[in-house]
Amino acid sequence: MKQLTALQQQGRRSNSFRGASLPLDTSVDGSVKSPATIFWLLLHGFCCLISLVLGFRFSRLVFFLFFSTSSPSTTTNLYSALQTTFPSSTITSPPAVNGTAVAVGGGSRVVVGRHGILIRPWPHPDPAEVVKAHQIIKRVQREQRVQYGVKSPRTVIAITPTYVRTFQTLHLTGVMHSLMNVPYDVVWILVEAGGTTNETAALISKSGLKTIHIGFNGKMPILWEDRLKVESQMRFQALRVVRQKKLDGIVVFADESNMHSMELFDEIQNVEWIGAVSVGILSHSGGSEGVESSAVSREDNDKNENSQMPVQGPACNSSNQLVGLHTFNMLPFMERSAKYVGDRAAVLPRKLEWAGFVLNSRLVWKDVEDEPRWVKDLDEVGREGGDIESPLSLLEDPSVLEPLGSCGRKIMLWWLRVEARADSKFPARWIIDPPLDVTIPVKHTPWPDAPPELPTSGGKVISIPENTEKRVPKRSTRKRSSRSKRKRVPKVLDERVSTRNSGDN
């Protein structure tokens, strides 16, 4: 304090000195940039600062006087004061804190006894901090990948045959999400039966992946057997693209209804030329009428529970050497297997599914120096015309196959074929247009004056077949008013246009 007053006195002295030497108004004005003016200003600021500190210290003093009645040498707990205004609502915490609550200060004394339970007045997580925390997690995970993950990963080239149908969105979305999660570069080649469509293009454009969308001449046949052949041809077409564009990486055959574990994409990085992974076959029986269920649903409990899922893939001996391939045993299913799409019977896989193989893309390139001798030329194999069962037909000698996934002990890929009946229809791009009929009105409709019962106008507007049978006949207690219908139509059209635009891009 003494020093402070001394300082102030000093300031006063210098000030008076200044007042004598300089016209004061200029110093007030401040337009004269003499060092003296600056000094005066600095001094002023300095004194301001001192006042600030003094004020601060003073507030501490006041704080002690008011809040800490007991021990002057410890900090009082402000939170305990706050706590009375923000009592905890849980039953488990009886906060009841009063002035005697003393927190451990920054000092190193040991304070034994009761402490306040500090509860802050701002209860909800700060959104900015949540963002930061998630960024930290993201970085940590990335660091883990750098440290423990695959070093210098190769591009993943995924090949998917597809065509527009009821289940396309569902299946393709699943595969797309898998590929989007792959932490490496991905090129996704889609071969669409019957030529490329905007529907498919719109769907895959959401992925943000590098996509190559090509059309295949010829429709998707309705018989499963033909369909599998066509799909093989489609995959070959994609391989030709790989060859043409000299895409470098690892080719995976990601079929539409495959389900992938993310470890698969790490594991395939180990492939040198051609590898085989185990594929879990999820064959569904097609369902007898009535016992309908979603995936989470009843099942004949004990009988099926322990039945082993059939697995295709590499088989090894005890020293982890490839000795053969597990193929799918069709015999027990032959009689009740599905013949055509929509047949209510089990859809069977081939002996070996394409999805169970991964290739180094250089294998299909033309004229590669280090290409192994045991591989046939892509065109040669394709020209033979017939069915190309599996990528094995590319090889002279199947023993070169590299087993992946701890030699088939680990399944990282599942195969399931589910389709609706071939004649099943769905709203284009899943936009309900025209909108559905109101089957149950909301209690308080926004238009109480709407005509109560409109005669069913014309034909049914719903484009979803078999839908109507589910509807109770006394539907539409209150039909959409013509007014609202008029309102809606242009809106929907607008949306349509916009989606189409985005799809074309």
């Binding site: 108004d25 959401k206 995936a295």
Partner: protein, 345 residues
């Protein structure tokens, strides 16, 4: 310019100076009172007294001799906190906060704090596809913008299948386990959902709750859409059946985002609230309805709700159409969610 005038000016100047000093004093005084930064500010004060002896009033308190690096970081933050609490919002562009904000922006594009999405997924060990479908759903959820919390419920078992799958996903999840046995799959599923809801209630998690069945497939924009929900939201869901012709679309009928009616499968049971016809995955709601019912203008009927929270929520969705929002917002006419029905395997 007489000397009288001069001295007058001088006096004026002094007045000004004193006013400034006073203002600074008051400023310092209140800085000292700012609640959050209290300790650190005090600490700062002492630090100064250590280093700039000319100010030195006697230090009142002994310093903590070792301050770690982290608590140093913290004090910086605390200072910012003080600024925020004394002058909310405006002070955001000052000091270090700006830097951190910029960091957030750099990665995120822009700083828009998104609402938490809470996904509740019940799983039954009787479902043979559980592992596969769990992975598929995880692949989708991993792509959803943060923050997202996935509550997965499972019956206690020796199998580590579910926990192993979950921990490889990298998604922020809570794995809720229960011990009860159920014979009926539907009551088990409901029990699981109720457990998840009571977890949310117990933790007072604030976000949008959605029940995601394992057999669901989502368009990613779905999760962005449901973040816009204030109280309740609903949307059309497409049910796809294996080897059937039919596709059932079920859900609300909207005018813009206002729900004007329902398209439901079974209407007969409407009076019986236990089997409400609304599909479990076709609505979402603000979780605060669970732990803060007063906020939503209803008395907290704790006994009713604690028994069967799920039932309560479903009822609310159907009754509170004024707070019900159709999704997606443009007339809820786009299907963003598909539910796959496979027959018994």
């Amino acid at each position: 310019m007489g000397s009288l005038e001069r001295s007058k000016k001088k006096v004026q100047l002094w007045k000004k100076a004193i006013v400034h000093f006073l203002l600074c004093f008051v400023m310092g005084f209140f800085t000292g009172f700012a609640p959050t930064g209290k300790s650190s500010m005090f600490f700062n004060g002492v630090t100064i007294s250590d280093h700039q002896l000319e100010f030195s009033p006697q230090p009142v308190e002994v310093l903590n001799p070792v301050k770690t690096q982290v608590s140093r970081n913290f004090t910086t933050r605390e200072l910012e906190q003080t600024e925020i609490s004394t002058a909310p919002k405006e002070s955001h562009d000052s000091g270090n906060l700006k830097k951190t904000e910029e960091v957030a922006r750099n990665i995120n594009g822009e700083l828009n704090p998104r609402r938490l999405v809470i996904i509740v997924t019940p799983t039954s060990k009787r479902d043979r596809l559980r592992g596969v479908l769990l992975r598929r759903l995880a692949n989708t959820l991993r792509l959803v913008a943060q923050p997202l919390l996935w509550v997965v419920v499972e019956q206690f078992s020796d199998s580590t299948e579910v926990s192993e799958i979950l921990r490889k996903t990298g998604i922020m999840y809570r794995h809720v386990v229960f011990k009860e046995n159920f014979t009926d799959i539907h009551s088990e599923m409901d029990h699981q959902r109720n457990l998840a809801l009571s977890h949310i209630e117990h933790h007072r998690l604030s976000g949008i709750v959605h029940f995601a069945s394992l057999s669901n497939v989502y368009d990613l924009s779905f999760f962005q859409e449901i973040r816009a929900i204030e109280a309740f939201g609903t949307w059309p869901i497409a049910k796809l059946y294996a080897n059937r012709k039919k596709v059932i679309i079920q859900g609300p009928i909207c005018d813009s985002s206002e729900v004007i009616g329902w398209h439901l499968k079974k209407m007969e049971n409407l009076t019986d609230t236990s089997t409400l016809p609304i599909h479990i995955s076709s609505f979402a709601f603000n979780s605060s309805i669970l732990w803060d019912p007063e906020r939503w203008g209803r008395t907290s009927s704790a006994q009713d709700t604690s028994q069967n929270v799920l039932k309560f929520v479903k009822k609310e969705v159907l009754e509170e159409e004024t707070k019900l929002k159709g999704i997606p917002q443009e007339g809820c006419s786009k299907v963003l969610l598909w539910n796959l029905h496979i027959f018994k395997l």
